[in-house]
Amino acid sequence: MDKDAELIKKLKDTTLKDMAFSALLEGYQERLYWHIRKIVITHENADDVLQNTFIRVYKSISNFQEKSSLHTWMYRIAHNESLRFLEKNKNKSYANIEDLSSTHLEILFEDVYFNGDEIQMKLHTIIANFTEKQKRVFQMKYFDDLSFRKISEILKVSENTLKSTYYAAVKIIEEKIMD
């Protein structure tokens, strides 16, 4: 039995649930945080969404049918929670989920937990101008180091589409960074 399967078994056992949940937090908290942070941009918002994500995981682990891996399932919850957050706050800080490019950069550069240099700001500007799909695929592949298969399961897009999207995004970055 692999590590995740053992963890799922313990999470579904009411007597071991709390202990297993603590282990789950230990293993996945950081990775999910960075995925969320790239979507909701600021640390404060990422913290809120991360908490909501784990509460949702805790509440619905008993209904987890294990059709996908635990990691993919949690990643999808985090992704959906982040999008829900953006949707909920679109009238406050964010203009629109589909059109975040300008507000994305403004919010990011004003965040106290951003101390990027010129190159990093340039990279952010390039990524912010990607389409929403390109942005997610590039970030999940490049920064979260997820396999195309897992990204495909999370975003429900075919692997081939993801590959072409990713390589197109890499090409754009390479060209623009060189300018």
Binding site: E30, W34, D47, Y58, K150
Partner: protein, 178 residues
């Protein structure tokens, strides 16, 4: 753009090397950081929030105990209640019928002592009693008197002249005065 050497050309997502470096990776490429010891603090606050959410949901579950009964049981409970209520109403009416005598308004109104009878009648039934008395006293009695008068005149046609005086004095008194 090159990836850090430890992450290059390998599927490292669940491997220790990448897990240790994920924050560094984001900081060095994207310039985004987190507060010091954030993940330790966050873990504690998530665990606390989960516990309080669990307490709240348990309290809510207790409050909603009735509504968590399965639909089948709910229907059976409602049907039993309706049946028992119906039975109670039926039994009550049945005993009421036995306890109270059924007063016949028609019979009461046909007796001579209308004033005494009116005392016996309930307030609720008084209107019915008054209608029955009116019908009896005015319409039926008037009709009967008219018929008697008709008979008196028809019979007088068949009586001989010599006996007319006797018939008139007897029947007239009986029919008209009495």
């Amino acid at each position: 753009m090159e990836k850090p050497p430890e992450n290059k050309s390998k599927n490292t997502f669940l491997k220790e090397a990448f897990i240790i470096d994920i924050s560094k990776h984001h900081t060095s490429y994207l310039g985004i950081t987190v507060p010091e010891v954030y993940f330790e603090k966050s873990k504690v606050s998530i665990l606390e929030r989960v516990k309080s959410e669990e307490k709240n949901s348990k309290a809510l579950e207790k409050k909603q105990l009735f509504f968590r009964i399965s639909p089948k049981t709910k229907y059976a409970a409602v049907a039993s209640f309706v049946f028992l209520f119906g039975l109670a109403v039926w039994l009550q009416n049945r005993f009421k019928k036995h306890a109270l005598p059924n007063i016949n308004m028609e019979m009461l109104s046909f007796t001579k002592d209308n004033l005494i009878n009116s005392i016996l009648v309930n307030d609720a039934d008084f209107e019915a009693f008054a209608d029955a008395t009116l019908l009896n006293e005015i319409i039926l009695k008037a009709e009967s008197a008219e018929r008697k008068m008709d008979n008196f005149f028809i019979n007088s046609l068949f009586i001989e002249d010599s006996l007319m005086d006797i018939y008139t004095s007897e029947s007239f008194i009986e029919t008209i005065i009495l």
